[in-house]
């Protein structure tokens, strides 16, 4: 199982396109194309003169472009051995170049050179501390990718769609007897595979046991298929909110009665939901989840508001709407009182009269700090 899809993908893809094997012959059709006569270096990289008997038939029978200059090729080859190509891994992250020391000003032979007397106009190269903050040195594609979805899904309709997909996939695997795959890592699929999963028919009996009918084998194969590394990995996790709503309306809601008492089934569903939605169900809630409906309810429960003002805005809007109640989500300071009284305007006007203050006085704290530092 690949832990992080990022690790092998970028370097593998680059390996195929830029770095070619040196000594042994390629048996790929690409190597079998006719070598161009002129660039000796290129040909030397494709086939070495030391092992002529391993040449592919097409090359051996075809007229070698320069059979006489074997010596030359050998010379080039020696040069190639000295050359060590940059390891492909280093290309994801770009380390700084080796430090070089500039000549002293009086030793420069260029007559046009004039030493700078001020920093103005000189290029800013930054320092080593902030080296990795530059996207050219640390590309976005090299960022850490975890198991769970990056963006936490809070939309109740999407959460329901994710549970349906996870449950159907898990039921398929279970029904096909692939019990060991239930705890494994399943890849994200493309939209067609996603739709195929949702098209499966889930029937639930009175005990909560579910049966899936449809093309199960194809779905199962799609789940456990390992990415080959060369192509772009499918990342389709969830439909859009409108699509999910439409799906919800057409679908029969009986699937929600599916029992999740089987620990293995529950584990697999929760794992898949975590991958699709980024929602982690805490351990102490596991025992209370008995059906798919219970799982949906657990996931849809909104997180506890962090501040009292947020809680009142969401849960007690009647307090905010009362005409004699004024609610401030942030601390009310002396400045706010001055602003409410209109005193701020007067102060600003007086400053403007005396050319002391340009712009509004009520600047944010961060900008004021910058101002004191002389940055702005």
């Amino acid at each position: 199982m690949r832990r992080i899809s990022r690790f092998s993908k970028p370097s593998g893809a680059r390996l195929a396109s830029t770095v070619r094997p040196l000594a042994p012959l390629c048996t790929t059709p690409r190597a079998a194309t006719k070598p161009s006569p002129s660039p000796a270096v290129n040909t030397a990289r494709f086939y070495s003169s030391r092992q002529p008997d391993q040449l592919p038939a097409s090359l051996a029978s075809g007229k070698p472009a320069v059979p006489e200059n074997v010596e030359e090729i050998v010379v080039e080859d020696v040069g190639l051995q000295k050359y060590t190509p940059e390891p492909p891994q280093q290309r994801a992250f770009v380390p700084p170049p080796a430090p070089s020391v500039a000549e002293p000003a009086d030793a420069v032979t260029d007559t046009l050179y004039t030493p700078a007397t001020s920093a103005e106009g000189l290029e800013t190269i930054g320092n080593l501390k902030s080296w990795w903050d530059n996207p050219a040195h640390w590309p976005k594609s090299s960022n850490f990718v975890g198991f769970k979805a990056k963006q936490k899904v809070q939309n109740p309709v999407l959460l329901e769609a994710a549970v349906r997909r996870a449950l159907t996939e898990t039921l398929v695997m279970k029904q096909l007897g692939q019990e060991d795959q239930l705890t494994g890592h399943w890849g994200l699929q493309d939209k067609a595979q996603h739709d195929a999963v949702l098209a499966l028919d889930v029937r639930v009996d009175s005990d909560g046991n579910a049966t899936v009918t449809g093309d199960l084998q194809a779905v199962a194969e799609g789940l456990v298929a390992k990415g080959d590394g060369s192509s772009v990995e499918p990342t389709y996790a969830l439909p859009s909110a409108a699509e999910a709503l439409a799906l919800k309306e057409q679908a029969d809601q009986s699937w929600k009665g599916t029992s999740l008492q089987d620990a293995r089934l529950k584990f697999a569903v929760l794992k898949r939901v975590m991958q699709l939605t980024g929602q982690v169900v805490p351990d102490q809630k596991l025992a209370d989840i008995a059906t798919a409906r219970g799982l949906i309810a657990t996931l849809q429960k909104p997180p506890k508001p962090k501040t009292l003002s947020k809680e009142i805005q969401t849960k007690k809007p009647e307090l905010v709407t009362l005409p004699n109640v004024a609610f401030s989500p942030k601390r009310v300071t002396r400045g706010h009182k001055d602003q409410a009284l209109g005193r701020f305007k007067l102060i600003e006007a007086e400053f403007r009269k005396r050319d002391l203050q340009d712009g509004p006085l009520s600047v944010p704290k961060s900008r004021e700090r910058q101002h004191w530092r002389g940055e702005a």
Binding site: K306, T307, L308, S309, E311, I312, K315, K316, E318, L319, L322, P323, N324, V325, A326, F327, S328, P329, K330, R331, V332
Partner: protein, 158 residues
């Protein structure tokens, strides 16, 4: 002799004819994190909506004051303020404090050690006894009956 009422312009008293609540505004401050505000936060959620609805004459200004004890400050029409720190109090107790602030007059707290408090100015033993006596005599000269004349001596003439 018939009893005649004295003709006087009535002195305005709050509650006679109309009543004006002395508390015009109540500032409510709380903190989201500290434990001393737990009761206050519960009060805002449970009691405040009802209390504010019942007291439309009072303006309620609710705002956080991080890292401080919860406080209620009443502002009164005489320009004074009254603040109560409600740290670690139960919501029901905070409601009582809010009622106290609402009902208060905003005056400084006075020591009351007499069973009866008159709203009228003292006419006899005021600050200046002599001027009081003169005024009483002058009043009585308007009356026809001389037996009403009282001789009031200043306190030092004992």
């Amino acid at each position: 002799m018939t009893i005649r009422a004295l003709e006087r312009v009535s002195v305005g008293q709050n509650g006679i004819g109309s009543f004006i609540l002395q508390c015009k505004r109540l500032d409510i401050h709380y903190c989201d994190h500290s434990g001393s505000s737990r009761g206050m936060n519960a009060f805002i959620k449970t009691h405040l909506p009802n209390f504010a609805k019942k007291n439309p004459a009072v303006e309620f200004a609710v705002s956080p004051r991080p890292r401080k004890h919860p406080v209620m400050i009443g502002h009164y029409i005489n320009g004074r303020q009254k603040a109560i720190c409600v740290a670690n109090m139960e919501p029901s107790l905070i409601l009582k404090k809010a009622e106290l602030l609402r009902d208060a007059s905003g005056d400084k707290v006075k020591r009351v050690n007499k069973p009866v408090t008159s709203i009228n100015e003292s006419e006899t033993w005021g600050k200046d006894a002599i001027s009081n006596v003169q005024s009483v005599l002058a009043l009585d000269t308007n009356e026809d009956s001389p037996e009403y004349i009282v001789l009031l001596l200043p306190w030092w003439n004992d």
